[in-house]
Symmetry: C2
Subunit: 598 residues, 2 copies
């Protein structure tokens, strides 16, 4: 059975040495984020992940959720107890404002917690994950009265949350939405329609479920400009704010899925359910999109999380499994065979995953810090710059980390040979679970299109220009340092590939938007290589500084960091040239064939 060890040392290195979050103690909430405090949080979160949630991962997969004839759903055995422990320990409240019961801590710390939970049990992590997303949306868009009524109970975990967007005939294209909302005399609405793939839509973990529902108010315009956002609690609240009368939505059935079986993926039928409008009418989609930056970051972290736990188990297996002999000569003559970690091709797999994971973790932490700045800085320019960066990097994080994270689980599975294909071994679950992250919260093709079609041209390309300047400045600052040559030369090359691709898009995407579409996925992955390469540059600089400081306790960790970064530069970042070559071939060939001929 798989095991899991939270990568605490790496997280602390990122927060303390790379991001140096102590420097941001002018931001509210950061003053408490001392190294000791951060370490204590990481260790406590790691403990619940490792000891409580990970052992339930296979249980959730094998048992799944159960739908009952009365339309109730029970989560897998043990989930309720784990959920209560998780909630009571305050993990659901960590990064939220104190005025609604949150702890006000930085998102940059919360992202570590998110990773541990999602590594240990991705299906479980979605229950509190959806609640956090819904709470964040309410904090951003709801009235003060609505916030006070719902948010504190959601942060405490007593109530959970969902997001209801998809309908059978519309997923990506929400403009086709049919669920309708009819205004009532008392200011509420009656919501009717069917929503599908509603994660955590019905279950027995919490006392109430706060559904956020997109619907079209009767008479609203067609398309995306006629969609509004509503709160529709499973139980309507009584005068004291406690769950009371059952509202008019039920779970019609559970989806049977490839993975994340421990999470209830519901078909939700709304029949004149009472809903409360959030924000302005017809502005619902915009409200949802603001929330999505952080939700997409969280999904990117799921990709990293599955990649990390798959890596750890593959590394353990590679150290233990005796099979064959090293091709460069027997390494363990006293054993019947060498452990397979002596084989370069096994190390190639492990190093590929590791170099990706550590880069992706840095990018997720870095971006979370930008999110903190965008929410908490008192400098408008700083807030704006952080928002620009977040908008730009969000599709990259979601698309690239989940694509490659999935690939990594497949590679990790390969280390196990036939054993990895068996259910008993358990690593195949990581592959099945990781697969969904490429699809939900906007399929990765949509992320790529969001990047090239919306984020790049936004405000005259302000965000991407600022980003190129930042990475370029980093390269320039270290270009004469011989000790950095192994890192800076490949990063500079990749940056110039990305700049060439961007220029190509500017020149060819306007004249024919299909050129931008044809380039989008390759462009997103090329961007990802540069973004991870930049993170590796920062990590290497921080590691070298710390090594120079003579920190003996972390010497081995830091030297491995340098090696892993070198591997990234040797083996991963060179793919940028292929992406550029593909992008520059344009759309003509792929668009030429008749649809019927496919």
């Amino acid at each position: 059975m798989p095991t899991y060890r939270p990568p605490i040392e790496d997280g602390l290195f990122l927060l303390n040495d790379v991001l140096q979050i102590q420097k941001f103690n002018n931001l509210p909430g950061f003053e408490d984020a001392t190294p000791d405090m951060i370490a204590a949080i990481a260790e406590e979160a790691g403990k619940i992940a490792q000891d409580v949630l990970q052992p339930l991962n296979a249980v959730g997969d094998l048992e799944g959720c159960t739908w009952h004839a009365d339309h109730t759903v029970t989560a897998p055995k043990g989930f309720k107890e784990a959920y209560d422990l998780y909630s009571q320990s305050g993990w659901g409240a960590l990064p939220f404002p104190e005025e609604y019961g949150g702890q006000g801590l930085p998102l940059a710390i919360n992202v570590a917690v998110q990773e541990y939970i999602a590594s240990a049990n991705m299906a479980f992590s979605m229950y509190p994950g959806l609640t956090s997303g819904a709470a964040a949306a309410l904090i951003e868009h709801a009235s003060e009265e609505q916030k006070q009524a719902y948010v504190p109970k959601m942060l405490s975990g007593e109530w959970s949350g969902t997001m209801n967007l998809t309908e059978p005939h519309c997923g990506t294209d929400l403009g086709m939405m049919r669920t309708k909302a009819v205004a009532q005399d008392d200011g509420t609405f009656k919501i009717s329609g069917q929503k599908i793939w509603i994660s955590a839509g019905e279950h027995d973990l919490s006392d109430n479920i706060i559904h956020l529902v997109l619907a079209r108010i009767e008479g609203a315009p067609d398309g995306v400009d006629g969609i509004s956002l509503f709160i529709a609690p499973k139980f309507l609240l009584d005068g004291d704010g406690n769950p009371d009368q059952r509202n008019g939505m039920t779970c019609g059935s559970l989806e049977h899925k490839m993975g994340i079986n421990g999470n209830a993926t519901c078909v939700m039928n709304y029949e004149e359910a009472t809903g409360y409008l959030v924000g302005q009418p017809n502005r619902g989609l915009k409200a949802m999109f603001v929330m999505m930056n952080e939700a997409r970051l969280a999904v990117g972290v799921q990709g990293l999380a599955q990649s990390e736990v798959a890596y750890q188990n593959a590394a353990d297996w590679a150290r233990d499994r005796l099979q064959g002999r090293s091709i460069s000569g027997t390494k363990y003559p006293d054993q019947k065979a060498d452990p397979i970690i002596v084989h370069p091709d096994i190390r190639r797999i492990l190093m590929t995953i590791r170099a990706f994971n550590e880069g992706a973790r840095a990018l997720a932490f870095w971006t979370s810090l930008k999110a903190d700045i965008s929410h908490r800085s008192d400098d408008e320019q700083e807030r704006q710059d952080a928002l620009d960066f977040m908008g730009l990097i969000t599709p990259v994080i979601k698309g690239v980390i989940t694509d490659k994270g999935f690939d990594n689980t497949v590679m990790a599975q390969q280390v196990f040979g036939g054993t990895g294909y068996t259910t008993e071994q358990g690593v195949e679950q990581f592959v099945r679970d990781a697969r969904i992250a490429m699809i939900y919260e906007g399929a990765n093709g949509i992320q790529a299109l969001d990047l090239v079609g919306r984020k790049l041209p936004s405000k005259g390309g302000r965000a991407v220009q600022a980003y190129f300047k930042e990475v370029g400045k980093f390269c320039s600052a270290h270009k004469d340092d011989q000790e950095m040559a192994d890192y800076i030369a490949p990063l500079s090359k990749s940056l110039s590939d990305l700049q060439a691709a961007t220029m190509w898009l500017v020149q060819n995407g306007m004249s024919n938007p299909d050129n931008a579409g044809a380039a989008s996925t390759d462009y997103m992955h090329l961007f990802g290589l540069v973004a991870l390469g930049h993170m590796w540059g920062l990590m290497v600089v921080a590691a070298k500084e710390k090594l120079a400081g003579g920190d003996e306790g972390s010497k081995q960790f830091l030297e491995n960091k340098l090696l892993t970064g070198k591997f990234f530069m040797e083996r991963l970042i060179p793919e940028s040239a292929t992406h550029l070559a593909r992008i520059q071939t344009g759309c003509d060939t792929m668009m030429a064939m008749d649809a019927e001929a496919f």
Copy 2:
């Protein structure tokens, strides 16, 4: 639910126009292979695949096989009837010698049949597939008496076959094998030990199961030089050659797996089972390896087969699913939305899979023709050249087509968005089933090592030099043809990358074998790009010639072939540069870290 249409037109184009197998009518069995005959075979095989086997694919996945307390196993509902129909139609006998009840037809035709069956129902295809593999081993290595006793009933499907290699502690490293064989006075052996992952090890489809078992004769040398091959039938034969007394092996349990649930993957316990030695003692592994070339080709075809059926279903969905509008302007104003096939990124996915599939199919057919020549030519040089090529290309076919075939099923699943993650839709089964092909018959890392460590240096590099000469000659012959420039320039570039990589291996792999190991997987994939690129070159030439001949009926097919080939050259083959760059970084970084640090 998924559907399947056998790609008959493509197969006939390959056999008649690209390979021009009519030119080989000097080979035994080829005289019957007229275009009409080939078309009739393809259509009949396509029919059973489409109408009988494909509808059972989801049944097999959901129901799986059932192990009973008396150690018997039943296959999923409908498999027995389908198996009888398949066998009675003679599909199991197609390429085998007539003297043992075969039909003597070319392997190059059989490979088309194999693809259809494996696309329709991979788990089912393994029952007759294992039988064919076992029969081929017997024809090559068994005594005439053994052949007469077993092979005809295996080809007719009355009896089925298995291969018993793996044990719990040894998969790749068969030298550690513990199953023992004790010689008896009557010349037979008593076999005892445990074998695992035995596909089709026990089931209710056939009247007898002929197990081929590797075991160590008491007193034989340690390691791979002490392993012998045995026939151990489930039922021993009576004096008339009919199944009689139950032999001493039982199925202890079935593995629970990620996929291919319709095939019984058995733990087989041998307790003094009667076995008959095949060939010479201690030469068992060599006998198995001879058989493996064709078995590995068949597994490569499974990768293609899953990629093809996934492609077809993704293309159908992309044509039908209305969602959003084309970014270059609405294409279907009379509909609520455009079908998603208008989007370049969807076409990028479909064209990527298609360009791979058609190239892989050509390579599988081409290699099968070489196998035919190696078996049937009366020219020793021709036979030898064909064997050289087969040895070289087999790990490429197995490794590359199953790796990319799997990736393609994942990409095809992505086209479906959330629907593709549900069991009901069915495309996720292709991903789970395709996954095993990367693992069994030698994990793909072993294929890569076989290529660089054994096949490349074999006989002073004779095979690879001949291959480079052949592809180089093709490039030279067309390099001045302007109409071929889009194809020849990228192929030549990729060939020169492969040659540079080979030179690097020669120079660096001898001094440190870990450099070869570190390069192996990238080298295999680089080789695959050249091999597929060469096939595309041949297909394009054949298509242009046929177009010039004014064949109106196939004009659209041929023009799509040119487009698809162009896409291959624009988007797939350029990856060769990245593989070369990775190879040339060597093994130092990946070997530097302590095993404990992973």
